[in-house]
């Protein structure tokens, strides 16, 4: 983590889209009117969803919407690293997990690939389509190494599979999220080792019941 500053390049203005504003108002109704500033984090999220990042005019607009000083909004926006203060790639924001399990499973190679395919960390790529970051544990250690790309997890990555994913994004597609090696959820990589008997799932082991468990004894 390093000092986060507002981007040097800022748009002239920011306007809430109708959809964002509607959702923002929904969040604001969750709090008493004099405490509507409590909605600042969800609204920062909504703005980031709309624009891809949080710009300085957007921070001002949020301050006005919530009736709070803009410095307070800036404090929140700089505190949480998930708020992007720089413009991010138009096709994909790739957040490669670099914490221990992913690192042991090869995240460093993924980052090396990002470096060669996209460019330096935390910087917009030359074509403006990609940004990649190293982030802390995203909680998908069983499928390490992994990366969050935009809103989805891409797991069990190798440099080759990540390269294919990047190519797909570059071509304007949205590749299928989840495990890159086709594994179901976080099952063992070679397939399930337990609970493998098909009869568990076809209903054949179900026994018709005569009475409900714990049911009251029928009156004699």
């Amino acid at each position: 983590m390093s000092v986060r500053r507002l981007s040097a390049q800022q748009p002239d203005s920011f306007a809430f889209s109708d959809e964002t504003l509607e959702k923002a108002r929904w969040w604001m109704t969750k709090y008493p009117p004099e405490r509507k500033a409590s909605a600042v984090i969800p609204i920062l999220w909504l703005v980031q969803k709309q624009e891809g990042w949080v710009s300085e005019p957007a921070i001002r607009a949020i301050g006005e919407l919530l009736g709070m000083p803009k410095i307070r909004v800036l404090e929140v926006a700089t505190f949480y690293t998930m708020f992007q203060l720089e413009p991010v790639g138009s096709a994909a924001l790739i957040q490669v997990c670099g914490t221990t399990p992913c690192m042991l499973r090869g995240s460093e190679a993924l980052m090396e690939l990002c470096r060669s395919e996209i460019g330096p960390k935390d910087k917009l790529s030359a074509d403006g389509k990609f940004t990649w970051q190293e982030v802390e544990c995203l909680g998908a250690c069983a499928n390490a190494p992994m990366a969050q790309i935009n809103d989805y997890y891409y797991e069990d990555l190798t440099p080759d599979s990540l390269k294919a994913i990047i190519e797909a994004f570059r071509a304007g597609e949205t590749p299928k999220a989840g495990s890159a090696i086709g594994r179901h959820s976080s099952e063992p990589a070679e397939g399930a080792l337990t609970l493998t008997d098909p009869s568990l799932y076809d209903g054949s082991r179900a026994v018709p019941i005569t009475s409900l468990p714990n049911a009251r004894e029928p009156a004699v």
Binding site: M1, S2, V3, R4, L6, E56, P69, K70, I71, R72, L74, E75, T78, F79
Partner: protein, 686 residues
């Protein structure tokens, strides 16, 4: 009352006190950086750790821990000492070792506490962090690497100053204090941030690298930049006043002072009048005191008393005004006035020109109506007190006048005297301690006597003045005004007031006009009158003068000032007057010989004795009369009936930083005014 034991000694305390406060009651000093009595509790520096029984067996932050009955508090146990040493070591991990080049050196809380809790060496081999400097305006110099994130500055700006411009950005090791986009702090109280900073992160920009605290002569005195008479300490080295700091005075300024009070003092070294001048052939030429007096005497003797006038300015001490008044009265001059702004106060009971609720009374008020006043610009420290009361939610605020940003919300009831009319027959209100605060904006209009009458009637109708509470308050902007009014420095029967004197001068009906530090008059209207200017700075008055007599500024003479509450305060001399300049009263004493009407006092003591003898209120030093006379004060009888014009009230203070000759000579104040203008321009552009 509950009782706690501090290091084995029993102390009684009031419920709701924190462990830190209880320990202080017992006389134990607790080191602290983030805790400040007048700010909210943050609890983030951890320096105030103590051991408390019963409780978990670990050190606890005493500033944020409520004290409980039968609690045992240990402030000097080995565990406490070790814990504080640990905290200190962590604080110093990222604090640079640059005390020799730090302006805070010698008066730094961190330095002081490190003497008690610091280690001799460092165990930290890694790189220290470095933080970019931040711009915070013309008064605050930043060295943010020294910041220990106590957030006192953020809390002061948000809570006391009422400008939410400072914040703690980023997190953890990267946390840093900044204003939004590094804009200048726009508060009139921003200089106090420097005092609050326990380290050298925020230091005074104008004072940067000027002096070390131990080189300075410290003089406790009184401020004259506004009508409050804040308690200050003037720090001087040799003949130069280097800085002004607040003194704690809960009755007036608590421990804050405005930026003008603090930073206008560089004006004391510029544009100074340090010798007499006499105009010869249309040009002011240096002269001796004797030549100047002779020139004056010649003109005075050539005219008659009804063709002479005397106007006193805003920064005068009571002694000089008394001497001037006595001299002119003995000459038979009726046209004397201390109200250069044309205010109508000065007739009727003394209560009609005082801030009768007292400044501390604001803490009890439950309704305040501001009439023609902008306290944020006229008395920023008073405004902070109103804001604090407002923050408790127990204060109803209303404004008749400009709808300015006062740092608190208010009901805007109108801009002109018309808005007062609805209160004239309002009937008693349900508030227990209501206040009218009447600014000079309501009192210096041509129709102000009628406005004052209307206000008196409204105050009477609403029950603002009652037994045990006097809510009728006049907020003065001139430090000399109440003293002047108290001694009757107003036109005698048949005399002219300021406006009439200027009109007479313009019409050629006035031969001699004596300006005692009066610069805020329209000097283009002086016509052919022979103008004598006695003062400190080459400002408007001196430029229009035919004879200039150099006087002493407020730091250069002992003097009595009466603040807006009617509190008589004695200022002390910090440095000597510049060059040939003399203390103002002694100039009149000397001049009186030349005019053949020798004043009957040869020393300041004799003058003061005379002053107190003639006007006993000057003898009540540091006493604000407050509501004592509320029962006999008929507020409905003040002012005179008449037509009221429907023009909006305007505060006399438009440029906060440039209200008097000292401030106008100050480079710092000019810079502040420029910066504020730029910030306002940006806001307008948005």
């Amino acid at each position: 009352m509950p009782i706690a034991k501090v290091n084995g000694i029993e102390v009684e305390f009031e419920p709701g006190m924190t462990v830190l406060q209880v320990a202080e009651l017992a006389g134990e000093e607790i080191p602290r950086f983030c805790y400040h009595e007048r700010l909210s509790i943050a609890g983030n520096c951890r320096m105030c750790l103590v051991e408390v029984k019963p409780g978990p067996p670990k050190p606890q932050a005493s500033c944020a821990l409520p004290a409980a009955d039968k609690q045992e508090i240990f402030t000097n146990s080995p565990m406490v000492k070790k814990a504080r040493e640990g905290v200190m070591e962590f604080l110093l991990v990222n604090h640079p070792l640059d005390c020799p080049i730090c302006d805070q050196g010698g008066e730094c809380d961190l330095q002081d506490e490190a003497m008690g809790y610091g280690r001799a060496g460092s165990r930290f081999d890694e790189n220290k962090r470095a933080v970019d400097e931040k711009f915070m305006g013309p008064l605050i110099k930043t060295t943010m690497t020294r910041c220990i994130q106590c957030t006192r500055c953020v809390r002061f700006a948000t809570e006391v100053a009422g400008v939410s411009e400072l914040g703690l950005l980023n997190r953890g090791e990267d946390a840093e204090i900044s204003t939004y986009l590094e804009g200048a702090v726009t508060s009139e109280l921003s200089g106090n941030l420097v005092d609050l900073c326990p380290v050298g992160a925020l230091t005074s920009k104008p004072y940067a690298f000027n002096a070390r605290p131990w080189e300075l002569t410290k003089t406790e005195t009184v401020d004259v930049m506004d009508g409050l008479g804040a308690s200050i300490r003037v720090d001087a080295r040799g003949p130069a006043v280097l800085r002004v700091l607040p003194r704690t005075n809960d009755e007036i300024n608590e421990e804050w002072i405005s930026d003008k009070t603090r930073h206008a003092v560089d004006g004391l070294a510029r544009q100074r009048l340090d010798q007499p001048y006499v105009k010869i052939d249309g040009k002011l030429r240096p002269a001796s005191w004797g030549q100047a007096f002779a020139a004056i005497a010649a003109r005075v003797k050539a005219t008659t008393p009804d063709r002479m006038g005397l106007i006193a300015g805003d920064l005068q001490d009571a002694e000089s005004m008394k001497a001037a008044m006595d001299l002119f009265r003995s000459l038979g001059v009726a046209s004397i006035d201390c109200r250069q702004d044309g205010s109508v106060l000065g007739t009727g009971p003394r209560e009609s020109w005082l801030f009768n609720s007292t400044i501390a009374g604001i803490d009890e008020a439950d309704a305040i109506m501001l009439i023609g006043a902008n306290p944020r610009l006229e008395a920023p420290v008073l405004n902070a007190r109103i804001r604090r009361r407002w923050l408790t939610g127990k204060l109803l605020t209303g404004v008749i006048g400009e709808a300015a940003d006062l740092t608190y919300r208010y009901n805007h009831l109108g801009t002109s005297p018309e808005a007062i009319r609805q209160f004239v027959a309002h009937g008693p209100i349900s508030k227990e301690k209501p206040m009218f605060i009447i600014g000079q904006g309501a009192l210096n209009r041509p129709d102000s006597a009628a406005v004052l009458q209307m206000l008196g009637a409204a105050a009477k109708s609403m029950g603002v003045v009652r037994e045990g509470w006097n809510g009728f308050n006049v907020l003065h902007t001139a430090a000399s005004r109440v003293g002047g009014l108290d001694m009757g420095f107003v036109p005698a029967a048949g005399g002219r007031n300021t406006h009439a004197m200027l009109a007479a001068a313009e019409a050629g009906e006035l031969d001699v006009l004596y300006l005692l530090g009066a610069d805020e008059i329209d000097t283009s209207r002086l016509g052919k009158a022979f103008v004598i200017y006695q003062g400190t700075h080459g400002d408007a008055g001196a430029q229009a003068a035919d004879v200039i007599l150099p006087g002493a500024a407020y730091t250069e003479k002992p003097g009595i000032y009466v603040n807006t509450e009617g509190r008589t305060q004695i200022a002390n001399r910090a440095v000597f007057p510049k060059g040939d300049a003399k203390e103002d009263w002694s100039i009149f004493r000397a001049l009186s010989e030349d005019l053949g009407h020798r004043l009957p006092y040869d020393s300041l003591e004799a003058l003061r004795r005379r002053l107190i003898q003639d006007h006993p209120t000057f003898g009540q030093v540091d006493h604000a009369p407050g509501h004592v006379s509320a029962g006999t004060f008929d507020v409905g009888a003040i002012g005179t009936a008449g037509e009221v014009a429907d023009t909006p009230f305007r505060s006399p203070v438009t440029d906060f930083h440039l209200t008097n000759p000292i401030a106008r000579a100050s480079v710092t104040m000019a810079e502040c005014a420029r910066s504020l203008k730029a910030a306002r321009g940006l806001l307008a552009a948005e």
